[in-house]
């Protein structure tokens, strides 16, 4: 099942980071160990303001399909609508450089009813490898 193909009204993206562990000696010098070469923990937060309730339900259905935060889905499963308005490379917002990341729900979608038949949905996704 594909992620709902709706254009968000607001989008926040954080590119995450690399698995680095830092150690600091007593003299203040720092040693960093890189445990992997794939960037991970990308945060993609999407807001769908004032959408019909039927559209809001799609996110719950997809959340169930992914068994909540358990199953991942491919970044390519995020349709082009998710990055609507972004004029850079789509892969910047959806993939990591090694293209090994997949997305999963960081937490459950939140649906806020704003009027009869109209809701606002916020979805938080996290990229994992």
């Amino acid at each position: 099942m594909d992620f709902p193909s709706l254009a968000p009204t607001a989008r926040t993206f954080s590119p995450g980071g690399y698995p680095v562990k830092s150690y600091k000696a007593q003299n203040g010098s720092e040693v960093r160990i890189l445990y992997g070469t794939s960037r991970t923990d990308m945060k993609l937060s999407l807001t769908y303001a004032n959408i019909p309730d039927a559209s809001a339900e799609l996110f719950v259905t997809h959340y169930d399909d992914r068994q909540g935060t358990f199953k991942t889905f491919s970044a390519s499963n995020l349709g082009k609508e998710v990055i609507a308005g972004w004029e850079g490379s789509g892969s910047t917002l959806k993939k990591n450089p090694s293209q090994t990341a997949k997305y999963r729900y960081e937490n459950a979608p939140v649906i806020t009813q704003v009027a009869e038949g109209i809701s606002t949905v916020t979805v938080d996704l996290i990229g994992v490898i």
């Binding site: 709706l6 009204t9 607001a10 004032n50």
Partner: protein, 159 residues
């Protein structure tokens, strides 16, 4: 073709025609929610809520000097929103504005256009008086400026 002016207007509160109305007006606003998405250049909207408000101005008068005019005067509005202490000096009074015995919050208001027909044209709503202002000013007639808001959808409209 018939046009209408202030001479054709009247106002009824709780079924009683109010005398000495200088003006009335009403406004219907529809609140819209923005449904524009990223990547779009023009705003799209969806209607989500309608609000009807209005105002009127009633001259304060006495049909017989020294005797307060009650039912069909500005006092009809004043007494609905401005309350004195209750018996025993109770400092709280309920905010209900309708029929006290029925504990109603709202009042019946009809804004009418007398078009020569037996019933005239009107807009009829259940209202809450949200503001009452009275100012005594040199060179001006003492009057009550009243603002109100309809509760829910307009009860009837025949305009």
């Amino acid at each position: 073709m018939a046009l209408f002016s202030g001479a054709h207007g009247s106002l009824e509160l709780e079924g009683v025609k109010i005398a000495n109305v200088q003006n009335w007006s009403f406004t219907v606003n529809v609140q819209a929610a923005d449904t524009s998405t990223l990547g779009t250049t023009d705003t799209t909207i969806v209607p989500i809520k309608r609000t009807t408000t209005g105002s009127c101005r009633i001259f304060y008068y006495q049909e017989v000097p020294t005797q307060k005019s009650k039912e069909n005067s500005a006092s009809a509005f004043i007494n609905k929103i401005a309350k004195a202490r209750g018996s025993g000096g109770a400092t709280n009074r309920r905010l209900t504005q309708g029929n006290d015995s029925a504990d109603e919050n709202f009042s019946d208001l009809r804004l009418k256009v007398e078009d020569g027909s037996s019933t005239g044209r009107e807009i009829y709503m259940r209202i809450l008086i949200t503001s009452l202002t009275m100012a005594m000013t040199v060179g001006e007639i003492f009057a009550a400026d009243i603002q109100f808001q309809a509760n829910g959808v307009i009860a009837g409209i025949d305009l």
